[in-house]
Structures are given as C-alpha cells and as structure tokens.
Symmetry: C2
Subunit: 106 residues, 2 copies
DNA sequence: CAAGTAGTCAAGCAACTATTTAACTACAAT
DNA sequence: ATTGTAGTTAAATAGTTGCTTGACTACTTG
C-alpha cells in the first residue's frame, strides 16, 4: 500500500516522471495515430467536447470514448462535465514534463 | 510507389515528423519500459554494444535484439558493426525532433 | 412524455506485443 | 579444430490493443 504506482494520474508529480514505467505509459498513450491527433487537437488550446472531437477526426464517439480513457489514465487529459457535455483539455504540464524527461539530451 | 511511408528510417527527414503515423511509431518505440531504459542508456552519450546493454539492464541478449529491431525500425537507433560486436547509438536528431513536434505546446 | 443528443460500457474479434527458449550463424582466441 | 563470445532467428505462449457493434444511462428540448 501507498505504492507510488497506485497514485491517481491527476496527482502525478514531477517525481513520478522519473519512473520508466510511468513515462512509458505516457508515451504509450501517444503511440496511436488517433490518440496523437486527439492530443494535437487539444494542444491548440481550447476545451473540446467528445462529440466535437469525434466529428473533427471522423471517428465514432465510442472510439473516442475508448481512446479518451487511455489518455485520461495516463494523465494526459482532464475532463470537465457540464450538463450532458464533457469537455476535454490537455494536461500541458505533464506532457511538457514527459517530453523534457531526457536530461542528457541537449 | 515513392510513398513517403516506404522510406528507410535512417533517411527520415524533418518533414516525416509531421506525419501522425510516423510520430506515433516513434512514441510507440518509447512506450515500453525496457526500450525506454535502452534509450536512456544510449542517451548518456556513448556507443554501447548489445551484450553490454543486455548485461547492464539485466535482460537476455535475445530480448535486447528483439527490442533493438523495434527501435531501429522507428529510426531511433543506429547500429555499426565491428567484428562480432555491434555498437548501438541514439539518433538524437530524430528523438529531439519528435519530442519537439508539438508546435502549439509552449 | 417522447425524441434527440452526449456519453459510457461490455462483448467480441483480429491483430499485434513482450517474453522465453532453443537452435542457429559469425567471429575470436587458444 | 575447439571453445567461447556476440548476435540473430523462429516458434510458442500469454497478454494487450484497436475497433466495431449494440445496449445502456443521462441530460435536453419539443
């Protein structure tokens, strides 16, 4: 118990990023073209609803839902419910930390 | 024919990095803890032989060989043979390009 | 209430992946 | 030539993944 790996993705600290398994999980979330396009869409800055994303990327809502779970479990997206709409936004802090986690890379 | 996706990983240009599929493939190569540790080891700078890597990470040479194929196919490592020894080094240019490929991420 | 929209869940499938083991090639040293 | 080291390959297995489909909940609007 109190295993760091059990911590919720939203509580990821800069410390967790040093763990190969956690970083691999984030890269794994980025390792599918569809998910990468979702992240790129969200990287443009705005909050976007699930159906807007599905529409924009020409995928089913069920497929977006499926991929959004992977992204959320990696901690890469945050979700905010408003009525029947669920807005998705990028966890820029975590993504930046992960992309900058190769210390010896100049 | 002359499909950009058919190009050899070693010939990856900065242009290919704009393609979601190619970027996803690179992230996919980074999505396994063992491969991530290989990349981190190589990121320290030196050329390292396969058996040294296998020894250092406490994995079998066969398993390293398996993973090194994935990394080489993604273009992330270069290999140079010298006698019976094969030295591996990191393609820093490609890794950097990939990690910096989120233009809207400040 | 009924119909439409937004989102979720679970089953099923084909395709892929990580790992182990064992058999193999190639080079080096004695 | 034999032994040892470095590396590759293929088969087998267990686990995972991406996607589709259909049924489901929840909220909204006529």
């Amino acid at each position: 118990m109190s295993n760091p790996k059990d911590s919720h993705p939203l509580q990821l600290s800069a410390r967790s990023i040093e763990d190969s398994e956690q970083r691999a999980k984030i890269f794994s979330a980025l390792s599918d073209p569809t998910r990468l396009r979702i992240v790129e869409l969200l990287a443009e800055g705005e909050e976007v609803s699930g159906s807007e994303i599905a529409n924009h990327l020409d995928i089913s809502l069920a497929l977006f839902c499926h991929h959004s779970r992977t992204l959320a479990e990696a901690g890469l997206i945050q979700q905010r419910r408003e009525g029947q709409t669920k807005y998705n936004s990028l966890n820029r802090t975590l993504l930046k930390a992960c992309l900058e986690s190769f210390p010896s890379l100049i």
